[in-house]
């Protein structure tokens, strides 16, 4: 077993995996890595299952010291990682020698970095997952939903492999300004014509009110003209519009049911990109049909082969 001692952390540094499934009918949220693509690449670099437990570091402020020689992998945002002061770029596996410190300083590109270890970090599975959901007191190192804290120890049991990189052609482009794919939902026709024009033809600014439950977007006020809704299941990536007309994109820790009308839902790939955007960034939406989005998704999954 190899170990890393956590020397610095924040409430936004969490153990995550793909999330908690099969229990949403009990009101238990999904949880899991907000940028599942980068989590998968971090695990891919080490030959892990793509959903093995990783550390999700949002914005930085995290540091670990190796207690043995380790092989780790890093994917996702460039949070100014350094090994004993030397810069370390993401999208690669790397060695961290006994006594060396890996530190995440500040966001240089993107918002969330994923740190993986051979075989995945060791943590109990609670309701089938190690995903940390603070609000529900589920998951994480102790199973009680506590964020990673200074002084705690991360461990793993897998065998190291050779160092490698994610091929350039497969590295997600975190600078991309391509519009986000939005699968059109059933209530789309109940928004005013002007609102629909605004949704797809204007830019939306990420509000600072953003967490793992949802990201608020600022722009023109959208008008829903349908009847009030009865609460119903909410999918990952749902773009809901509360009465103030400012959309909220719902993320992994969202509530399981809700009653605001929705434009539809971002595709999982689009959501992974949104999860890397910082407050103040702007995004655009493009409508896609469910079947077409499914084909795009299937193609993307082949890149992990």
């Amino acid at each position: 077993m190899s170990r890393l001692m956590i020397e610095a952390s924040t409430p936004l540094c969490l153990l995550q995996d793909a999330g908690r499934f099969g229990v949403r009918h009990l009101g238990v949220t999904q949880g899991g890595a907000a940028d599942w693509c980068s989590m998968s690449w971090a695990n891919w670099l080490l030959g892990n299952e793509l959903d093995a437990a990783v550390v999700e570091i949002t914005l930085g402020g995290f540091a670990v010291v190796a207690e043995e020689d380790c092989l780790l992998a890093l994917a996702g945002a460039d949070l100014g990682a350094q090994i004993d002061g030397q810069p370390l770029a993401p999208w690669r596996s790397f060695k961290l020698a006994k006594g060396q410190t890996l530190r995440f300083t500040q966001p240089l590109l993107g918002a969330r970095a994923y740190l993986a270890a051979p075989g995945g970090f060791t943590a109990p599975k609670v309701l089938g997952s190690s995903a940390t959901v603070v609000r529900e007191e589920l998951g994480g190192l102790d199973g009680l939903g506590v964020p990673l804290t200074r002084g705690a120890t991360l461990s793993y049991r897998g065998e190291p492999r050779q160092v490698r990189e994610v091929p350039q052609s497969h590295q997600p482009d975190l600078r991309s300004d391509k519009p986000l794919d939005l699968v059109i939902g059933a209530q789309i026709g109940l928004f005013s014509g002007q609102s629909l024009f605004e949704v797809f033809n204007s830019r939306w600014t990420l509000d600072s009110r953003a967490d793992r439950m949802g990201i608020r977007l600022l722009g023109s006020a959208l008008q829903y003209q349908g009847a009030p809704m009865i609460s119903e299941g909410i999918p990952l990536g749902a773009v809901q519009v509360p009465p103030d007309g400012q959309p909220i994109v719902l993320l992994n820790d969202r509530q399981t049911i809700g009653g605001y009308p929705r434009l539809g839902a971002l595709t999982p790939l689009a959501l992974a990109r949104l999860a890397q955007c910082l407050p103040g960034a702007t995004v655009r939406f493009i409508p896609v049909m469910q079947e077409q989005a499914w084909k795009t998704h299937q193609n993307y999954l082949r890149s992990y082969a």
């Binding site: 009918h25 589920l138 539809g264």
Partner: protein, 234 residues
């Protein structure tokens, strides 16, 4: 009943069975739920029931949206209501008291009933569990009688004690853990509503029924209740 299947996400379809909340929906909702679980088997990731809908989250690596839609349609052929009593009936002890249920007086004022009568009426009915949501094990139950209905508080409380029993519109519920909340609080139950070590985790499941039973302070404490007054939490 007029079932429709709607697109909600790349890997989710919404089966909409009814347009209004009603206790009479439940036998149909349970029957449809059972059919869908059987039809999808391991291809089902989650099935999220609510008052009038069932959201089907399927495994997109195994099923195309078109195939999933077809499977839902096939599963509903000749659907008949599940009239045998499928769910469990729970009796939840409640200590109804102003120190843990401050809106008892508000509900009495609104309805023109005395507090004892509000308590008697809330605990007289057997309620359906329509859906779970908001928090693990938080069951939306109903319908409470018209006279006890009251809108949510204008300003939600930052902290509501675990076990708090409340009313919002014609629904009633109990908070499984300490959380923010805007329901009108009328009492507290010592029941453990969500337990990660229990089989099935949640005490109440969709389709179950619930009755509240008034207990006095001594009994509440004997059953493991925490009588910390609400103000002490703020």
């Amino acid at each position: 009943m007029n079932p429709r299947v709607e697109v909600v996400a790349l890997d989710c379809l919404m089966l909409r069975l009814f347009d209004d909340i009603a206790e009479a929906n439940m036998p149909w909702m349970l029957a449809a739920s059972e059919r869908l679980r059987t039809a999808f088997g391991a291809q089902l990731i989650d099935l999220v029931p609510s008052y009038t809908t069932l959201m089907v989250h399927y495994d997109l690596t195994l099923l195309s949206p078109a195939r999933a839609r077809q499977m839902i349609a096939d599963a509903l052929v000749d659907l008949a209501p599940n009239t045998r009593r499928a769910g469990q009936c729970h009796v939840l002890p409640v200590w109804y008291d102003l120190s843990v249920g401050p809106e008892l007086s508000l509900l009495a004022e609104r309805s023109g009933l005395v507090v004892e009568e509000v308590i008697r009426r809330h605990s007289a009915r057997e309620y359906q569990v329509f859906a779970l949501g908001f928090a693990p094990g938080f069951a939306f139950m109903g319908l409470v009688e018209e006279m006890l209905a009251a809108p949510r508080l204008n300003t939600p409380r930052k902290k509501v004690a675990a076990g708090s029993v409340g009313i919002a519109e014609r629904q009633t519920a109990a908070y499984p853990v300490v959380s923010p909340g805007g329901w009108n609080l009328i009492g507290r139950t010592p029941a453990q509503l969500f337990d990660r070590h229990r089989d099935g985790y949640s005490l109440m499941q969709p389709g179950d029924t619930v009755r509240f039973e008034a207990v006095d302070h001594a009994e509440f404490i004997r059953l493991g209740g925490d009588d910390t007054p609400l103000e002490a939490l703020a």
